[in-house]
């Protein structure tokens, strides 16, 4: 568009120029004529004035002649004739001038003829008069008088002629003055017009030229910009020929700045050099030959070659075209494209090998795959799908109908339903069915397929898996689950038996022991008393054992779901439960903010309950009892004890007391079930409490251990996954 404007304007330029010149010529000629007219009318006016002067001159001569004639007559002067002759010639000159001046004016010529006649008459009369002079006779006198009268008459005539001539001249002058005035008025105007028009033409021409110049400048800048900013290198070469006219080299006439980006050499340094000097490889890699070919044939040629600049390989595509006597070359860097196509080739190769792997994998995983085009009706089946149904790959035409022949008759309906559902639904469809293979084996298949639309074409892609082994395993698992359920139910009923049915008679035993103790004890012998005590203690221990065993068996990870537990609340609840004993024993509890963990609420409660109960039970007999509960978050690397640390971070909860403590040698034993450290008589308990704690912490994938100094107190460390 930019260029087009400039090109199209040149035509209109030419037209405008021609019109301007024509107009200027026209105006000039008009002006010339006008000036001419003015000059002429000025001449006419001046000639009119000359006529006037000549008329006066002529008639003044006549007056002089008259006067002189009278004087010589009176004075009888003999010189009169000579003088007259002199005047006479003077009138002739004036007359000639006048007739010359008025030859174009018929009226004046007429007058002049008449003047000429009367002058002749005057001449005769004067001569007559001169003859009579000196005679002084009477008759002469008379004659003389006649002659004088004649002269008077002539003079009168002459004067009247003069008057007429003057009048006529006056009228003409007036006419000419008007014409002159008109001319003088009109001429400057025309001249002015000419100047103004010239100025306009000049101004328009200047504007046009200036605009064109500007356009040209910006066009040039635009082109320059394109060339410099283009990702392409643009060069122009002039051929160098030897004597025989054969091209032997090229010289860089122009190179855009891009050349620096590509080669590292600034364009300025390259321009003027020879191709063979700056880029010698081009002489042999075909580029030079291509340039030559391009120049010779005028065809556009292109060539892609790699070059090494600054140790980096660059792929360049050069496109050469002939421009006047040289070659114009556009060079494009195609390294990336080249690399991509290389990558693509690599991808293709790996795709090929992956396909091979997939084929292998299908065989190993007992998987087959298929593609079905429901609109066209044809299908594709993977080789292994054939094998899965006991056929050789490609043994039959891959089609839905042909495959269906191998489906178990009882599962046909199910199979077809799955296929139908697949066509309706946009989701993955799963169908389970049985197959009877070509060699009459029953197999369980699972098809997973999906309807997709690719390039507007519908297609079902699916995977068929031989799940016979999974189904067999499932069946086994199911049996095992049932067995487990049975054993769980048994365990449950066992628990019930223990908790109720077993406790019931025990309770009664204890009840009657107490009755016996109240009423009959005093009647017992000393031995009997000992036996009785043993019975009472055993019954009591048995009850405690049953209760703790129940608790222990209830700590079971499989039944409960983990939920978020605010340990602060759990601890509060435990304190609540133990409030009586805490008050009774005057225990001071110092606790820190505890974390919120994922766990089984009642187990956490049990954990704190057992630890606090222990601390109360084994409180110091000498000092004010104190329990400190501390919590922090630690990285697994900061935990000094070894256990299976599945989590990155752990909450470390420490329950310490200033109680009687235990020997550090027993630190692990205390967590074993039924382990008792203290004398039975001194402290009650079955020794299950800490075992329960351990089981709970284990359930929560944590760890519990204890440190203690006899007489100083114990610390129980619990690590729970954060």
């Amino acid at each position: 568009m930019y260029f087009r404007g400039i090109i199209s304007s040149s035509k209109s330029y030419k037209t405008a120029l021609v019109v301007a010149i024509a107009l200027l010529l026209l105006l000039s000629s008009i002006s010339y004529r006008q000036i001419n007219n003015m000059r002429k009318s000025a001449d006419l006016v001046s000639s009119s004035l000359m006529v006037d002067k000549e008329i006066n001159n002529l008639f003044s001569k006549f007056s002089l002649i008259e006067a002189f004639g009278y004087r010589s007559l009176i004075l009888n002067d003999s010189t009169f004739a000579e003088t007259y002759q002199e005047y006479r010639s003077q009138t002739d000159t004036a007359f000639l001038n006048l007739s010359n001046l008025s030859k174009d004016i018929p009226e004046q010529t007429q007058y002049l003829d008449m003047v000429s006649q009367w002058r002749d008459s005057l001449d005769i009369t004067i001569n007559n008069l001169n003859k009579y002079r000196g005679q002084l006779e009477q008759d002469v006198e008379g004659k003389l008088m006649t002659e004088v009268e004649k002269i008077d008459f002539i003079y009168q005539k002459l004067y009247s002629l003069k008057l007429g001539m003057s009048q006529s001249k006056q009228a003409l002058l007036k006419e000419r003055m008007i014409a002159y005035k008109t001319n003088t008025l009109f001429t400057p105007f025309v001249s002015m017009l000419l100047v103004v028009f010239s100025l306009i033409v000049f101004w328009v021409a200047f504007r046009k030229i200036n605009n064109s110049r500007k356009k040209l400048v910006s066009t040039q800048a635009f082109l320059e910009n394109i060339v410099t900013n283009s990702n392409n290198l643009i060069t122009y070469f002039r051929p160098v020929k030897d004597e025989s006219g054969k091209i032997i080299d090229f010289v860089f006439e122009y190179a855009s700045n891009k050349i620096e980006d590509i080669s590292g050499i600034p364009a300025k340094q390259i321009i003027g050099t020879k191709l063979s000097e700056s880029f010698p490889t081009t002489m042999t890699n075909g580029l030079f030959d291509m340039y030559v070919n391009c120049l010779n044939t005028g065809n556009i040629n292109q060539l892609t070659r790699h070059y090494v600049f600054n140790n980096e390989t660059v792929w360049l595509k050069s496109i050469a075209s002939k421009l006047e006597e040289g070659v114009n070359v556009t060079t494009i860097e195609v390294t990336q494209e080249k690399q991509k196509s290389e990558d693509l080739r690599g991808l293709n190769e790996s795709l090929f090998s992956k396909n091979a792997i997939l084929n292998n994998a299908e065989v190993i995983a007992k998987i087959g795959s298929f593609t079905k085009y429901p609109e066209v009706g044809n299908s594709e089946m993977s080789d292994n799908l054939y094998r899965l149904i006991g056929c050789k790959p490609g043994e039959f035409e891959p089609s839905f109908e042909n495959f269906k022949a191998y489906v178990h008759p009882n599962d046909l309906q199910k199979f077809e339903k799955g296929v139908a559902k697949n066509l309706e639904s946009k989701e993955i469809t799963e169908t389970n069915y049985r197959i009877i293979t070509k060699d009459d084996k029953l197999r369980h298949f699972k098809s997973t397929s999906l309807l997709i639309t690719e390039n507007g074409k519908q297609k079902i892609v699916g995977v068929v898996q031989d799940v016979t082994h999974i189904i067999k395993k499932d069946k086994k698992l199911e049996l095992k689950n049932k067995a487990l359920e049975r054993s769980n139910a048994e365990l449950e009923s066992f628990n019930r038996v223990v908790s109720h049915d077993l406790q019931e008679p025990l309770r009664k035993i204890q009840m009657f022991i107490s009755l016996l103790s109240d009423t009959e004890r005093k009647n017992l012998s000393e031995k009997g008393e000992v036996f009785f005590n043993k019975i009472e203690n055993s019954a009591g221990r048995m009850q405690l054992l049953i209760r703790n065993l129940l608790t222990y068996s209830r700590i079971d990870s499989t039944h409960e779901d983990f939920q978020e537990i605010d340990l602060n609340k759990k601890l509060e609840k435990v304190e609540d439960n133990l409030s009586e004993r805490i008050l009774e024993n005057n225990i001071m509890i110092i606790k820190k903010e505890l974390p919120i963990i994922k766990g089984i609420p009642f187990q956490m409660e049990q954990l704190f309950n057992n630890l606090l109960s222990n601390a109360i039970k084994y409180k110091s007999q000498t000092e004010a009892a104190k329990i400190i509960i501390d919590a922090s978050r630690v990285h697994r690397n900061e935990i000094p004890v070894t256990f299976k640390k599945s989590s990155k971070n752990y909450y470390k909860i420490v329950v310490s007391d200033n109680g009687i403590g235990f020997s550090q040698d027993n630190a692990t034993k205390i967590f074993e079930i039924f382990e008792r450290l203290h004398q039975k008589t001194e402290y009650s308990g079955t020794g299950i409490g800490l075992a329960i704690c351990k089981k709970i912490v284990d359930n929560h994938h944590g760890f519990i251990h204890a440190t203690s100094v006899v007489g100083k107190g114990s610390s129980f460390y619990i690590y729970l996954p954060a």
């Binding site: 908790s499 109720h500 406790q503 019931e504 009840m511 107490s514 009755l515 109240d518 009850q543």
Partner: protein, 147 residues
């Protein structure tokens, strides 16, 4: 209501437990009139036709024919019986049982003690509490004790 002769009912299928309960009651200072039932059905039949409502009913949970829970629910649904205080008297110490009976309207939950002194103490306490709730303007809605 006089301080003498509190009407007390007990339903328990265990003969020994009934006997022990009776012995315990007899040893208390509070004068009571006790009626014993072998199961829930007998108890309910008595309650339906009785002229005088008892002051408190002790219910074992585990009973043949009609268990304690069934009796409790039936009583709480009956306009005439819903105001009678019920004390559950059971071996079960399961939290679910305790909570469940309270929710269904029991007032007291007693674990059968394993010595006679404790039994006497427990029964005495229940009767006292019951007495207070009857005479001292306490809120029956909140008559809820676990002993």
């Amino acid at each position: 209501m006089s301080l003498t002769n509190l009407n007390v009912l007990l339903a328990d299928d265990d003969e020994d437990d009934r006997w022990l309960f009776e012995q315990a009651l007899n040893d208390l200072k509070i004068k009571t009139k006790l009626l014993l039932f072998k199961n829930g059905k007998e108890l309910m039949e008595h309650l339906q036709k009785a002229n005088h409502q008892p002051h408190i009913v002790f219910l074992d949970l585990n009973m043949p024919i009609k268990n304690g829970m069934e009796c409790l629910i039936e009583m709480r649904k009956d306009v005439n019986l819903k105001g009678i205080p019920v004390a559950i008297y059971s071996t079960s110490s399961s939290e679910e049982d305790i909570e469940n009976t309270f929710v269904k309207g029991a007032n007291v939950y007693i674990n059968k003690p394993n010595n006679f002194e404790a039994l006497k103490k427990v029964v005495d306490k229940v009767l006292q509490l019951n007495w207070q709730y009857h005479t001292s303007n306490l809120n029956r809605e909140n008559f809820l004790f676990r002993i």
